[in-house]
Every structure is written in structure tokens, then in C-alpha cells.
């Protein structure tokens, strides 16, 4: 087990290396350097800047300088914004982490509950209605859901704030988290329903009924774990979807999180910032995927780590 984790971690390193290398090269082939637009900088100042950032070293040298920094946890200075990239990410992270985590928790709890419930009442009217909603949910893009939520709850009803504001409170969280979670709720509910129906039709559920267990016991004790396996393997893609979704959500709701940092960095051609965020996201996604794989092994004893 420990060996498996170690091997997976080691295998992740080359992938991460390739990701960062490709991102680094892409950024460097961008037509237009970071200071192109603002020609107001006098030539000698620009020289100084380029020297400060080592921009005239050969690319390979720059790349390995950058990698060296990475290993030390230093993502370099930002070209466009005050401060170092690492600090910018650290400042933005709490916002993204909060809405991402809340959305994930909401999606899992509601999606699993609704999906199981629909499976138990398979083919009833309620099941059909719920599943029609779920189909709608996976068919409406997140950037359509978000404005609609704003339209209804912020503009028309005025119940909730339409955007983040520095004055705090937690009410601003509601709409972004909801918008981010809704499509995932729909996916997870559909998936749970399908796998729960399979599980409920299996021989061991029949055995459990013949043993006189109550429906509640059967669900909680016998059905839930095996029915969760497909849902668990969807967690990886779900995490990725929530990460990319948060770009849109943070833009729409003006939340100063990682997504917005990435978009403004890309807009401003802030090499180090964009690179830093991509490297950070790649590491995060890989780490989370590993966690999911390990969890899977706990739920399904038939998997053996080799």
C-alpha cells in the first residue's frame, strides 16, 4: 500500500515535468512580451527589467532556473502584479478552496441522496421528474446557470448578493457554490441512480432481504458501498470540472480566487503567474486523483495495489 502510493507519486513527477515544460514553452512562444503594450518604459529601464528577470538567458537555462525555484517552492516574481507568484496564489487560494470544497460537498451529499432515492422508487412518477431535472442539469452550462441564478435571486428577488464584496459575510458564497454544484449534483444523481439500481438487483441484496434485514439496513449496510464505486471513479473528472467551472464562476461573481488570477494573468501575458497557476493546478489534480484511487481501494476489496 505505502509502496503503491510511493510508486504513484514517483510516476507523477515525469508527468508534472512534461506539463510544466510544455506550459513554459507555450508561454515563451507567445507573440508579444510582457512589456510590449506599455512602450512608455524607457529602453534602459526595460534592459534592467529584462536583466532582472533573466529574460536574455537561453530558454533552457531559464527553464531550469525556473524548475530550481519550483523545487524550493519559489514560483518567481510576477511580471505584472505586485509581489511574488507564490504569495498571489496563497492569497487567492482560500476563496477558490472554499467555493470548490463547498460545491463538492453539496454535490456529493445532494447527488447521492437524490440518486439513491430515485433508484428506490425506480420508474415512479417522482423518479421520472427527478431524472428529467437531472438531465436538464447536465445540459445547462454553468455560465448559463450562474446568470439565471443572479437574475432570479439577486436582481428580481434581491435575496442574495450578486457578487463578492470585501465587506465580508458569507451570503456571497451561496450563489457561486450553488451554480458550481448544480451540474455536478445532476451528474452524481444520475450516476448514483444507475449504479444503485444495478446493485439493488444483485444477488446479495436478495440474500440480505431473505435474511430479514430492513430496507433501511439493506441500503445503508449492503447497497451504499458498492453503489458508490462508480461515483467515486467520477470524482476525478468532477474535481476537474469544478476547477474549470470556478474560472467562470469567479469571473461572473467577481471573486478574487485562483480562476480569476489565472484569467487576468493570461490576459496580461504574465508568464510566471500563468505558469505558476498551471503548475499548481496540475499538482492539485494529480494529488486528488491519487487520493481518489486510494479511497477506491478501501471501498472495493477486490482491488489490490501492485
Amino acid at each position: 500500500m505505502a509502496q503503491y502510493v510511493l510508486r504513484r507519486l514517483l510516476a507523477a513527477i515525469p508527468t508534472l515535468f512534461v506539463v510544466i515544460a510544455v506550459a513554459f514553452m507555450l508561454i515563451r512562444f507567445t507573440p508579444g512580451g510582457p512589456f510590449d503594450e506599455e512602450r512608455v518604459v524607457p529602453p534602459d529601464v526595460e534592459r534592467a527589467l529584462i536583466e532582472a528577470y533573466n529574460l536574455d538567458d537561453p530558454l533552457v537555462v531559464q527553464f531550469f532556473d525556473y524548475l530550481g525555484g519550483l523545487v524550493r517552492g519559489d514560483l518567481g516574481p510576477s511580471f505584472r502584479f505586485e509581489g511574488r507568484v507564490g504569495d498571489l496564489i496563497v492569497a487567492a487560494l482560500p476563496y477558490s478552496l472554499t467555493i470548490g470544497l463547498l460545491a463538492m460537498l453539496l454535490a456529493l451529499s445532494v447527488g447521492i441522496a437524490v440518486g439513491s432515492w430515485a433508484a428506490i422508487r425506480k420508474n415512479s412518477l417522482l423518479d421520472r421528474v427527478v431524472m428529467a431535472f437531472a438531465m436538464t442539469g447536465i445540459s445547462i452550462p454553468i455560465f448559463v446557470i450562474a446568470p439565471l441564478l443572479v437574475l432570479v435571486f439577486a436582481v428580481r428577488l434581491g435575496w442574495l448578493p450578486a457578487a463578492w464584496s470585501s465587506s465580508g459575510g458569507t451570503a456571497w458564497l451561496v450563489l457561486p457554490v450553488l451554480a458550481l454544484a448544480l451540474p455536478q449534483i445532476a451528474y452524481i444523481a444520475r450516476m448514483t441512480r444507475a449504479s444503485m439500481i444495478d446493485v439493488l438487483a444483485s444477488g446479495y441484496i436478495r440474500t440480505a432481504r431473505a435474511q430479514g434485514l430492513t430496507t433501511a439496513e439493506i441500503l445503508r449496510y449492503h447497497a451504499l458501498k458498492p453503489a458508490m464505486l462508480p461515483v467515486l471513479s467520477y470524482l476525478g473528472p468532477a474535481i476537474a470540472a469544478i476547477l474549470t467551472g470556478s474560472i467562470v464562476i469567479e469571473t461572473i461573481f467577481a471573486i478574487p480566487g485562483l480562476g480569476q488570477l489565472f484569467v487576468s494573468g493570461a490576459d496580461a501575458r504574465d508568464y510566471t503567474l500563468v505558469l505558476g497557476v498551471v503548475a499548481f493546478y496540475a499538482t492539485l489534480v494529480m494529488a486528488l486523483n491519487l487520493v481518489v484511487d486510494i479511497l477506491y481501494g478501501f471501498l472495493d476489496p477486490r482491488i489490490r495495489y501492485r
Binding site: I27, S139, L148, V150, G236, V248, A282, V285
Partner: protein, 275 residues
């Protein structure tokens, strides 16, 4: 084609709606007196009305939203279908080779797919868009490059299990050549799955395209896509809500139809496989 025999209702209805929408997107702009690019500053933000055929109203520079929406559908569908075909070609080729050759080649090819799965691709696409200045062609490639991974996995799994199926072994025993086995025994049995996943890949591609367009990285003015239209409409959420409602609704309908179509086809295939 046997796949079409005894189709279920979901497939017929969703397929029918998709066909109708596609036809409308081609015919309506031609019937309408309006043009998707012509601005009419007297008619800015006109509400939906039958007058002057502005059935969906007009946008902030007085362009007819109906015609623009139809244009948007065409672009959206085109991007999605081409992107899906790209992912189909890469995915099927990759998956079939890995599955049929098996062994180390398979292990290596699938390791690569696993590795790519862990990469946050959309960030790369955004990066590409920024680097290459919103090239339209690039959208196809980028979306196709994201979506082929699933197709490859599915096709490989199918090929692998087909190769071990007894009818394939029987054909080998009989002396049927490798190309004969692939053509007569493997390919026809892959077809169903590939078609089903193709119909499920298209809505994925639409989502990515509209997502990029929404971020302002997709199709460039005056051409448009449903995603761009939603993006434009965002600014008028409170004041001219038709600008977001019509394109958003069309986008949702199209996505829903593709999802239902894929689901229906998959159910059909499952039934057949159980029989």
C-alpha cells in the same frame, strides 16, 4: 443498418428535435429579411416582436437576434461535430491499436492516456487561445484533443474484450485472416459503442466551445456562437433578458437532445447486448 431497427421513443424525439433545429438554423437566416452582421442603430435592444421579423428581439447594436442565434447554432454545431470527429479518429485509432495489439504496447499507450487525464487541459486550451490569438481552427483541435481520451479508453476496453470473445477465437481457429477478423468481427461490434459515445461527446464539445466563447476566447465578431451570445447577453441580464434567454435556451435544448439521444442509443445497445 441494424442499429436503427426498433428504435425507442427517446431517440426518435430527441433526434427529431435536433434535425429540426439544424434545418431551422440553415433555412431561417435565408428566409429572414435580416442579416447576422448588419447593425441597425435605430433598432437597438428592441424587444422580441413579429414586426420586421425580430422574433427574438435585437441586440445592443440592433442586430436581429433570431438570425444571430441561427448563425450561432451553425457555428456551435460545426465546431462540436468537427471536434468530435477529431476525437473520434484519434480515440478510435489509439484505443483499437492498444486493445488489439495488447501487451506492452497497450500498457504504454494506456499509461500515456492515464497521464494525460491528470493534466488540467482546459487551462492549456486557454493558454493556447491566448498565445495564438483566438484562432477559430484551433478551437476544433483543442476540443478534439481533450475529448479523445474517453473515446480511446472505451474503444480499447471494447476491443480488448472482443478479442477475447469466443467468436473471435473461433474465427482465428477457422483461419480467418487478421484483416478479416478486424473488418468482419471486431469493427461491426465496435460500431454501436462508438456511435453512442460520439453522440455523448458532441455535447461535451459544445460545452467546451461555449465555455471558451463565454470567456471571450472563442469565435470572433461579427460571427458568433451560442456561447458568445450568452456572454454578450450577460451584460443585459437585468435590462434586456431576452438577449440571454433565447440563446441560453437554444443551447440547453441542443445539449439536452444530444444527451437524450446518447442515453437512448446506449439503452438500446445495452438491451441488444443482454439479449
Amino acid at each position: 443498418m441494424r442499429l436503427l431497427a426498433g428504435i425507442n421513443r427517446t431517440v426518435v424525439v430527441s433526434g427529431g428535435i435536433l434535425l429540426a433545429v439544424t434545418l431551422a438554423s440553415m433555412v431561417l437566416p435565408w428566409l429572414s429579411p435580416n442579416d447576422f452582421a448588419t447593425q441597425d442603430l435605430d433598432q437597438r435592444l428592441a424587444e422580441p416582436a413579429a414586426r420586421a421579423m425580430h422574433w427574438f428581439g435585437t441586440d445592443n447594436v440592433g442586430r436581429d437576434l433570431l438570425v444571430r442565434s441561427m448563425q450561432g447554432i451553425r457555428v456551435t454545431l460545426l465546431v462540436a461535430i468537427v471536434a468530435s470527429l477529431v476525437s473520434l479518429v484519434i480515440g478510435v485509432a489509439w484505443g483499437a491499436v492498444a486493445g488489439y495489439v495488447g501487451g506492452r504496447v497497450d500498457a504504454f499507450m494506456m499509461r500515456a492516456v492515464d497521464g494525460l487525464y491528470a493534466v488540467p487541459f482546459l487551462f492549456f486550451v486557454i493558454l493556447l487561445m491566448v498565445v495564438f490569438d483566438n484562432s477559430f481552427l484551433l478551437i476544433f483541435v483543442a476540443i478534439g484533443a481533450i475529448n479523445w481520451l474517453d473515446m480511446a479508453r472505451i474503444v480499447r476496453g471494447q476491443t480488448l474484450s472482443l478479442r477475447e470473445r469466443e467468436f473471435v477465437k473461433a474465427a482465428r481457429l477457422m483461419g480467418v485472416s487478421t484483416s478479416g477478423i478486424i473488418l468482419r468481427h471486431i469493427a461491426p461490434n465496435l460500431l454501436g459503442v462508438v456511435i453512442v459515445y460520439l453522440t455523448l461527446t458532441i455535447p461535451q464539445a459544445i460545452l467546451v466551445e461555449s465555455f471558451l466563447s463565454f470567456l471571450g476566447l472563442g469565435v470572433q465578431e461579427p460571427s458568433t456562437s451560442l456561447g458568445s451570445l450568452v456572454d454578450d447577453g450577460m451584460q443585459y441580464v437585468g435590462t434586456a433578458s431576452w438577449l440571454i434567454l433565447f440563446p441560453a435556451a437554444l443551447l440547453a435544448i441542443i445539449l439536452m437532445c444530444f444527451n437524450f439521444l446518447g442515453d437512448g442509443l446506449r439503452d438500446q445497445l445495452d438491451v441488444r447486448q443482454q439479449e
